[in-house]
Symmetry: C2
Subunit: 210 residues, 2 copies
């Protein structure tokens, strides 16, 4: 997946009907749908297959286990139709490498640090080094918060060809246009779209640099 001014829908719902309704209504305006474990655990992992028939799918599983378990998780996500998987970098290079190998021609995006308050306790300290090592790990890109455009700019310089996907747009206060201008390749938007009365129109409106 190579995004450019992209829009990724964070489908943080746990109801199958609602999920598929939003996916279908927003499909013309989003480049990929990002799903997480709460949805998969609630409605079953075949939701990956179902969404993949309508849109590109990124499984935001924050994969963070030993290499062999990581491999099995990524293989299963890809087998069900995922185009990308989000994994944690802090578990170490062998664990990330196992994901990249298992993804085959699909893409792995790495979390280098997390922006919630607790993310500052431990992940912030290693985030810089993980970002520097991202190319070495073979990932397609990293995740970096849209709420801090200056951080995106700094990372973009460091990462070169690697992609930056930025959550935090909309309800969390970040601006899609600012994130893209700072160097993000795609913004990740959730509530502002799936909670809207007209999710299709909301996606169209929020789409960066449309």
């Amino acid at each position: 997946m190579r995004f450019k001014n992209g829009l990724i829908l964070a489908l943080d719902v746990t109801d199958r009907e609602k999920a598929m309704d939003v996916v279908e209504k927003t499909a013309p305006w989003v480049d990929a749908v990002k799903i997480n474990y709460p949805l998969v655990l609630s409605v079953g992992s075949n939701i990956i297959n179902d969404i993949s028939e309508v849109s590109s799918v990124i499984c935001d599983f924050k994969v963070a286990d030993i290499p062999n378990t990581n491999r099995l998780i990524v293989e299963e996500a890809v087998r069900r139709g995922a185009d990308g998987v989000i994994v944690h970098g802090f578990v170490g290079s062998d664990s990330v490498q196992a994901c990249v190998d298992a993804a085959d021609k699909k893409d792995v995006f790495m979390v280098t640090e997390m922006s919630h308050p607790g993310g500052r306790e431990y992940t912030a300290e290693v985030g810089g080094e993980l970002a520097k090592r991202a190319s070495e790990f073979g990932v397609r890109g990293i995740i970096a918060p849209a709420t801090r455009p200056e951080r995106i700019s700094a990372l973009k310089e460091l990462l070169g060809e690697l992609q930056i996907l930025s959550p935090g747009v909309g309800a969390q206060g970040g601006s899609a246009v600012d994130a893209i201008k700072a160097g993000a390749d795609a913004v990740i938007v959730g509530r502002s779209i799936y909670q809207a009365e007209d999710p299709g129109n909301a996606a169209k409106e929020i789409r960066p640099l449309k």
Copy 2:
């Protein structure tokens, strides 16, 4: 869950029939069955419900997301019958706390550091501090490798009432008896049981201090 000389089966298989067969054959000898995402993604999350009808279940999901997502994951695991959930500490105190709150009267066990080679790159540096903070986080216990009994002893002193669950017994070289003597409250055993011709007998034989 309060283990004493306990045996936890690490059910690292991805086939439903095999999974349920091993669970049923080993039920008299194991105190809990630990399952992971590869099984859940392969066969569906109702495997949690199914196993919970035969045995106590620990969902080893290495939960590592922001507080709200962590909450949803743990709630869903518990709703399906899990008695315990394994979460990562490195994502920070608020993320762990969200798991503890969501688990209600069920138990959260925290990964403080990981023993695979890549685990030394980043998790080893924060493992000590996370173990020290475990009581503050409200978790039931932590995970510590049976391959290093001297480490278990040191952690046991630090942790007081908290429990230590130790993987790495059997195929990975650790001894169940040594881990328990060092202070582990339960050992976690996988391949030596589920790959055995007679899993029930293997569980009976490996059960520590039987």
